[in-house]
Symmetry: C2
Subunit: 220 residues, 2 copies
Amino acid sequence: MTTDKTSSRPKVSTEERIRAAAHQEFVAHGFAGARIERIVKRAKTNPRMIYHHFGGKSGLYLAVLEGSLSGLREREMLVDFAHEPPIAGLLKLFDFLNEHFRRTPDLVRLLTNENIERARHMKESQVIGKMSSPVLEQIGVLLNRGEKAGCIRPGIDPLVLYVQLVALTQFHISNMHTLSTIFAIDISSEEWRDKHKEATRAMILAYLENDSAPSNEHLC
Amino acid sequence: MTTDKTSSRPKVSTEERIRAAAHQEFVAHGFAGARIERIVKRAKTNPRMIYHHFGGKSGLYLAVLEGSLSGLREREMLVDFAHEPPIAGLLKLFDFLNEHFRRTPDLVRLLTNENIERARHMKESQVIGKMSSPVLEQIGVLLNRGEKAGCIRPGIDPLVLYVQLVALTQFHISNMHTLSTIFAIDISSEEWRDKHKEATRAMILAYLENDSAPSNEHLC
DNA sequence: CGGTTTAGTAAGTAAATGTTTACTTTTTGA
DNA sequence: TCAAAAAGTAAACATTTACTTACTAAACCG
């Protein structure tokens, strides 16, 4: 049952089982809070194998982090923004990010933890530095096109916009627990997220659009 | 030199030294990563005193968290938004939050860590639940006034707006390390933050203002 | 086959870590 | 003044924790 047709080893390799178990553990407790013992128990193996395959706790953590980040990059590549009209393309990017973080809270938690650790693991990675986001260039292209066509507010910096978009799509997920506790509501509910999404979409649209007639002063 | 005029005890009480040392430690490493040994060494005392004054590591952590949060609430009370014109008042709130998180990254890190721990400590607190933000009501008042006067977009939810504001003012600080690493820039520099602040201010303003003539469709 | 490499197991180790015990010193208040 | 309470010290305790050693089984390949 647990064996391959040609071998007596389990179908899923020990390395993969460790990776999956570690993913769960690091997502649930962060690096410092993660326990080797729980990982090996869930992966049905023993500590020795972690050191055999990954070199140690840090190596395992890095493998998990790299895997999750490359997952985001791969999905980003699959979506085509650049062939849309500028504003529609940027809103499509917003929708994509919102959907991705909503569906992949694991990545959000890993990133959150990595900031607690001041990105010390990420800095060690040989891989992460090289997979720079392809989205930044696409944002630049769309902003340029829209600016020249006169429909997009001039002077927007692609990286600043990207950080704003990620903030607006990620913050309420990474801070879900404290926000829900402090304000005594369930911020993770579908209704709340839908409401938040619509409001945020409107905010971004209002910002991008070029009010070629700038309001001299606020009315009140 | 280290004694009070009437006693041979240190000027600053052991309890306060522990609290200060623990604050630094929890900010630097989070709850799971914090070490009792480092705290007592910095506070120039011994483990026994932590259990004497705070009951244990968890109690100490909670004391630090409660202190930081009540600091934010106190400062929020000092700023008067409600007597400003609606849009000016909301922008003043944005400026306040932006400045507060910029100046108090400690609080941001404690909150980040608390989310890693799924707010389990915060939920135990008898204090935090009771000090609900006074800002929410003030936002509601401003939105109402502005909406009735016709200068503010109708239908904005106060809590959604507050979460958006905090997202835009806190995210780039809490995620400073991963963002800086991935995009190979120093996101904590004054220049970058100023640029980000201006862009974000414009975004919020554009969102709040009531475009009484809504664009039928984006121009492009 | 047969020898080498890779994958895996069981048990253990040394160090770290939160916590407590036993005891001393200082402060306080009747 | 003096006993009781509060504040503080030193040392150790019981686990936990990341990691290793010694050994076995399976896979690979000429």
